[in-house]
Amino acid sequence: MEKKVLKKIKKGDTKAFRSLYDHYIDHALVVAYGILKDKTDVNDAVQEAFIRVFRNIHSYDESKSFKAWLSRIVMNECYRLIEKRKNVVSIESIADSRSVTEEDGEDEDLTRAIEQLDEIYRLPIVLKYVEEYSLREIAELLEIPENTVKTRLFNGKKKLKEHLEKVYAEEELT
């Protein structure tokens, strides 16, 4: 992140913070999607994460990647939200869930397959193939060994393939 922008944000400049927000919001949304299934929750977690970034900008270590720092804060907010909502079933999430229709193609099958993946697989997949993090960066972010990242990516893709194969097999029977 540009040092000038950072300096301004530390002084409370909300315009500078808005430029940072515009730069990183897409990334934050993707990371949150890697953990949370509900769109409203993703919004809430990302919003809270950026508020925390603004309030704690002085604790950011400029020698390290801002993107990784932000990702960590987004992940923490997602986990906080999961904990909070453990026993609550959102009416919106029931309304949002949809059944696959004949018009839904292969793309929608893959989308649903990704949504149904456990976060332990979905998050590394999203970080690797959407945000193009390296294995090492993912390992540092998630604080797990690189080999574990490789295993989770492998198993995540395997589960996606299995899910899609099952869907196609069922479609052929009908």
């Binding site: 944000i9 530390k10 002084k11 409370g12 909300t14 913070f17 808005r18 927000y21 515009d22 919001i25 897409d26 949304l29 993707v30 999607y33 769109k39 993703v42 919004n43 990302v46 919003q47 950026f50 508020i51 925390r52 603004f54 309030r55 704690n56 900008i57 002085h58 604790s59 270590d61 960590r72 804060i73 992940m75 923490n76 986990y79 906080r80 793309d107 893959l110 989308t111 990704i114 949504e115 997949i125 999203v126 193939y129 959407v130 604080e143 893709k157 996606l160 393939k161 899609l164």
Partner: protein, 244 residues
């Protein structure tokens, strides 16, 4: 499908994640409302605020581990004032606490030096050969343990986490782990054993010492003291600074 799966995953996720201007504006509106109502909270960096570019120049030119480097570290520490008043919120009430500076200089070059301000009216600091312990003054001997301990080990927080977790789980029923930025950027292990007023609480912060090791900062108190001793310890921890 195999060949294109990774490409298809990217396309599917990008389609699914709504990055429309409307959504982004809606999220920003919530952020702006919150940050406008509560201005940015500045972390205390007294030497930079008081001494501006001179202090920044000293920091930039520091070469730690050498004689000139040690002189720089010493001069940095001298920029921390000996005492300062710190506003904190205890049990819902705001108060100002007088704190004293403790200089955590290490004899071992593999360990990091640090400073921390502690509430000298309510606590005393005891330096032992391998740790500093801040304990409540005039504390009844039969009361649950209340103290803040700072020590270092030559392993990273990641390397220490599992071992410490398994030890804590032996004696505490509830154990939670999370990455935090307050009161200090760290891996935080929160442990509690029971819900009575005097049930013990242990909070461990694993902080990188920037020398491939860790500070292990442990707060011990009890459930009913969370808003009292717990809040005071967190306020002290916010002043913790590594200086080399």
């Amino acid at each position: 499908m195999n060949e294109h799966l990774e490409h298809d995953i990217k396309q599917a996720v990008k389609r699914e994640v709504d990055t429309s201007p409307e959504r982004k504006e809606s999220i920003w509106a919530g952020i702006e409302a919150e940050i406008s109502s509560q201005p940015i909270r500045r972390k205390r960096k007294p030497f930079i605020l008081l001494y501006g570019s001179a202090a920044a120049a000293i920091l930039l030119s520091a070469t730690f581990g050498t004689e000139p480097g040690q002189a720089v570290v010493k001069s940095i520490k001298e920029l921390f004032v000996a005492e300062k008043n710190v506003p904190i919120s205890v049990e819902g009430e705001k108060e100002t606490t007088k704190t004293a500076l403790h200089d955590g200089t290490q004899q071992n070059q593999t360990k990091a030096d640090y400073v921390i301000y502690y509430d000298k009216d309510r606590y005393e600091l005891k330096s032992q050969h391998d740790r500093d312990v801040i304990v409540a003054k005039n504390y009844p001997g039969n009361a649950p343990l209340v103290q803040l301990e700072i020590k270092q080990e030559g392993k990273t927080p990641n390397q220490l986490q599992e071992k410490i977790l398994s030890e804590v789980k032996k004696t505490y029923a509830t154990v939670q782990v999370e990455e935090v930025t307050e009161p200090i950027v760290s891996t935080k292990i929160y442990a509690q054993n029971g819900n009575e007023w005097n049930s013990p609480v242990k909070v461990i912060y694993l902080v990188s010492n920037q020398k491939e090791g860790s500070f292990i900062i442990t707060e011990d108190y009890f459930v009913e003291a969370s808003e009292g001793h717990g809040a005071r310890m967190n306020a002290m921890l916010q002043t913790f600074k590594i200086v080399n």
